[in-house]
């Protein structure tokens, strides 16, 4: 199954490359739809009772000398993220029909290849294979931005590539270090994630601290976390619509997923020690980028910055190291993919008609495009975290988790952890700020008097308001937002098992720290102090 999800898009990409131009979008659509069907089948066959186990396992030795294999398998969390990817894939493809006119073969081939890489990341059970997929996502994305982006695309694409590549090479060093450590213990090299996880946890505080820093150097860029976020607004603004959708929807989640899968699971001691500084960065990101959103003129940039702000909640939840926070983060990954992806689609649809994204030039579109306006407002509200829609559940859980973390002494609902009410309170202002900037955006482009660019003329093929195809790509996302907002529990219950397993180790690490006293903690913190500059 998982192999199929990787192979089908890859073969389709090849087919697109060699098939006549007219077939490109057909093949791409078919491939993505077939994959989605496979995804549904997978969800059907998944043993939800053992959601913490890796299922659909498959493995092939690639480089036994280095212990590298191509191992696939998913637990429920990976499965959900795969489903998200699979859902977004046809939406991206179909959503691009009218926007992409030239060079279709290249476009759809890379878009399809990107899907394979993304699945690879989530399905990887082998660290090296994970890394390969993780890195490979860069190329298609880079090509998409570089070839199909808007005016400033070259700079954006290159910055995106270099930024993330730099980070991930350093992360690779950390990952290899873990593999080496494991080799020392086991007497043989292996990149098997489960095996490395066991080994990594036996590293001492200093080692874990370094590994955490190395990993975060790579993954924080991808998320992106506060000081290393500047590639994102640029990349988003310049990327084609589908690129932005995948970027916001899935690509950013690679970072948080990797933090979940590797940082949290591999180096729990260091996570406990570093939770506070990282959470501080996340909170700075929430507020700082939130405020920046408020002064944007470019609506796409605004949403891009808002992603940084939102993902701050996600990271915060992860470093709350309790089940509520971590579950909330996992939900956040899914939810943000739906709502922000949809926002980018909406903006893309506007852009196709007006060829501008500046809020100074367009506005009051509710007068002219009520259907579009409905979706725009709807997804904005999902993004604001309105209860009943998906964004609320995850944001709420992340904040509650943060609040609980370290509030163990305050009451029965508290847990171990290093954050606490103050963190939640400060991060909570992000909720207010989100309302400020998102309503500011909606107030500008959706409401108010109709404003159009001077040279506006009706699109050759597209109607004034959305057409059926466009509505068709937005509706599944809207349904997703509502369903996950009203009935998140089934999803939450399925991720309970893997999350709780992970949280258990983190809690043990926390207790362990306390037992050991400050000794190791001091070491780790000292390490952090020295290398603060390196985090960049």
């Amino acid at each position: 199954m998982l192999q199929a999800l990787i192979v089908i898009p890859l073969l389709s990409a090849l087919a697109i490359a060699f098939a006549p131009k007219a077939n490109a979008r057909v093949i791409a659509t078919m491939s993505s739809v077939i994959c989605l069907a496979v995804g549904v089948l997978m969800a059907w066959q998944f043993r939800w009772g053992d959601s913490g186990e890796m299922q659909f396992g498959w493995s092939m030795d690639v480089l036994p000398e280095l212990g590298i294999s191509m191992s696939l398998g998913v637990d429920s969390i990976a499965l959900w993220l795969i489903e998200l990817t699979l859902l977004l894939a046809p939406i991206c493809v179909i959503g691009s029909f009218s926007a992409i006119k030239d060079n279709q073969k290249t476009y759809y081939a890379w878009l399809t290849a990107l899907q394979a890489a993304l699945i690879g990341v989530f399905a990887a059970r082998d660290l090296a294979f994970f890394y390969v997929s993780f890195e490979f996502t860069l190329i298609p994305m880079w090509v998409l931005i570089h070839l199909f982006g808007s005016t400033n695309r070259k700079k954006a694409a290159t910055k995106f590539f270099l930024f993330t590549f730099t980070g991930s090479v350093i992360a690779l060093a950390g990952l290899v270090y873990v593999a080496w450590f494991n080799a020392g213990m086991m007497g043989g090299w292996s990149f098997d994630i489960a095996e490395l996880q066991q080994a990594a946890r036996r590293m001492n505080g200093t080692q874990q601290g370094w590994v955490l820093l190395a990993m975060m150097a790579g993954f924080a860029v991808k998320v992106p976390l506060f000081p290393v976020h500047t590639w994102l607004p640029l990349a988003h603004t310049e990327a084609p619509t589908a690129g932005s959708v995948v970027l916001a929807g899935v690509l950013l989640k690679l970072g948080t997923y990797a933090i979940f899968r590797f940082v949290l699971a591999f180096v729990p001691d260091a996570v406990v020690a570093y939770a506070v500084p990282i959470a501080v960065l996340a909170i700075i990101g929430i507020i700082y980028t939130g405020l920046i959103c408020w002064v944007q003129r470019d609506v796409k940039k605004l949403v891009a910055y808002s992603s940084v702000s939102h993902l701050g909640f996600c990271v915060l939840g992860l470093f709350a190291i309790n089940s509520v926070g971590v579950s909330g983060s996992v939900m956040y990954m899914i939810n943000h993919g739906l709502s922000t992806g949809a926002l980018f689609l909406c903006i893309g649809m506007m852009y196709e008609r007006y060829h501008t994204r500046s809020m100074d030039e367009v506005g009051g579109l509710a007068n002219k495009m009520p259907v579009w306006a409905f979706f725009m407002v709807f997804f904005t509200l999902a993004s604001v975290g309105l209860p009943g829609l998906n964004g609320f559940v995850s944001e709420f859980l992340c904040l509650l988790g943060t609040f609980q973390s370290g509030a163990g002494s305050m009451g029965v609902g508290g847990t171990v952890g290093s954050l606490g009410p103050w963190f939640a309170a400060v991060a909570g202002t992000g909720m207010v700020i989100a309302a400020i900037y998102l309503l500011y955006m909606v107030g500008k482009i959706v409401f108010g008097e109709l404003r159009e660019p001077a040279d506006y003329h009706v699109h050759e093929t597209l109607p004034i308001d959305l057409n059926g195809r466009e509505i068709g790509v937005l509706v599944p996302l809207a349904i997703g937002c509502v369903v996950l907002g009203v009935l998140p529990t089934p999803v939450l219950r399925t991720i309970e098992q893997p999350v709780n397993q992970l949280v258990q180790t983190l809690e043990d690490a926390h207790d362990h720290m306390l037992v050991r006293g400050g000794e190791d903690g001091v070491v780790v913190v000292a390490v952090w102090d020295e290398s603060e500059g390196d985090v960049e």
Partner: protein, 762 residues
Amino acid sequence: MFESMPALLGAGSADVLPTTVGPGWLWLVPILALAGCVACGLCLAMRVRTKAPAWIVVGLLGIAFVLTFMGYSGWDSASAQVVKVFEWIGLSWGDSAGQSLSFNFGFYMDGLSWLWMLFVTGLGTLIALYASEYMQGDKGYARFFAGFALFVFSMACLVMADNLVLLYLGWEGVGLCSYLLIGYFYKKPSAVAAAKKAFIVNRIGDLGLALGLFLTFVTFGTVQYDELFALIDQGVAGDMARTPLSEMWQTWAIPLLLMVGAFGKSAQLPLYVWLPDAMEGPTPVSALIHAATMVTAGVYLVARFFPLFAFEGVPHYALWTVGWVGALTALFSSTIAMAQFDIKRIMAYSTISQLGYMFAGLGVLSTVGAASHVFTHAFFKALLFLACGAVMHGFAGQLDLRKLSGLWSVPGWRIVCVTMLIGCMNLAGVPLITAGYWSKDMIMAEAFVTPGGQIIGWILLLTAGLTAYYTFRVFFRVFVGPVSFEPGDEHHDDEHGHDNGHGGGGGFHPHAPGWAVNTVLAVLALSSFAAIGLYFTDKPNGGFVGNLVGDSTAGYVTPYGHHGADDGHDDAHAAAEGDVRFVLVADPPAHASGDATGGDHGADGTPDAAHASSGGLILGMDPHKAMYYISAVVGLIGILIAAVLHGPLGMGGLGLGTRTEAARSKADELLPALGPVARWAQHKWYVDEFYDFLLRTPLRVLSHVFHAIDKLLVDGLVNGLGLLPRAMGSALRPSQSGVLQGYAAGMAGGLVLLLVIVLIFM
């Protein structure tokens, strides 16, 4: 822990209502409203141009009201009915206490919920009916009703919720509907701005609520009302050690946080600023959301969590703040209302002011008074708004009281005028015959009997006078006197395409209200009288509302305190002639001699301790009695002043009034004497400007600064790092001069350097 709950409940005091399983069909109530929303959405999508959406919504809300009433009738009043519909957010991470969270979509129906639900669905139906005419011909007809129905759904969730998170859903949901409906005329920048302001200010409050919720969860391990109130009833937190709440700071911190949320939603100082602007929305919205129902959610929240607000043994910071903020808000906003000319804004400020009364009532432990006032206020304020709306609608958006006069004499406007008069009388507290009088009295009297509450009482009394004045100022200027009007500038042809002939001054014919509007106004006017009747049914127990409140979480305080416990209740009953069942007074010693923290209530709040210990007598009378007279007098004085200053010349032969034209009255002559104060009041004491200066502008500047930092510093640093290799390359480039000897020198130099290194490390 929770497993043992039933046992604890059984053994516990009788004050916490036992829970029974409520009727399963209760979920139909919110769902019907939601269905209305969906149906209107479909109408919108199918571009239905008829009045179908209105009838659908009126019908569904009507059914919802009937169902609510049926549910209420079937309620045994001795228990809280619990209905679980489905698990909304559920998660567990262990088997022991506090290791799971489960937020249901479920209902907790006690007296408080029933009370609110009754008037929410009832008024909802009526106002929908009104709107069916009022909004007629508007392009966004279906959109309006979709939002309207969604609001009722959200409000139902808020009120019926059996846990804080669902309440939060309703809380934000009503905020959303408020946002959507204020911004209903989305072309008007002022409407969009007002909508945004409302949502954002509310969000600030919501943050407090959310944090309160988190703290509640952390402390009790649950936010489910039945479990929560059972724990509070026992005075313990949710942990295994059963830590007494009196030893926990959370016991006073949680109410403080919840209070912030309540202030936001109920437009109290300092978060009231959004409500006047919210009048940008269509009038039915103002009536339902921004007068009758949504804004009382804050009162509901405080009443709901009253056991915690008034928990004995910890400082009552929150309760005290609620009382004071309420009183000050009441006074403050009525001063603004006095100086306004826009009648709808006047009503808005009066709403804020009346909400202040309710909070003051809560603060002085009169949950019954507060709830009663919510109830009566819902009717008469809706009435006032709808009447104002009818005027606005008829006069092309004219709301300036200087440009309208003598509607009494305009044909077709008599019902509006009469109902308006009834509304004004209620608001002004005309004695005996108005429900507003009785409910307001309850609060004021309670303030005087509560130790430390006297100043609040005086403030409220003063406000009552002011209220009477500005209310009748509106009435005397607009509805009676010489006939004179000029139409407003609202040429909303696309909204009201059918409007006939307005625009020109002379040829303007006011558009008199139709049957639906008149019916609704009449029904509301009658209801406000009926409310008196409800007040006098079972009067010893506080009337209808008092009964309901008594059978709710607001009806008791804590078994350990004196408030609300059976004995306390008896004392109070005896002392206060049984006006109110739950006079949450205590004998002064209870306050004064309480433990150190408990004593705060009395000691901090009252500068004049002697006054406090006097047992709260006014003029040597029991305050409850005295208030009947005092407030009546104060109200009448207010009306009298209004009549003198604004009443039309002669005025029914009483010879009070002096006004002969629409635009000017005697008050204008007196204003200069006040100096700039009148102008300040008219400019709403410049609070908006102050907030702009203090918060918005700095924040905006900060945002720009951050943006600059991001572009220059953070990104610059990154770009700089990116340039570093390039710079290094440029620096090294001269070494590649292309000259053979240069290269050789480099090689030789490198050799020497490396050999030196070797010599160092060898």
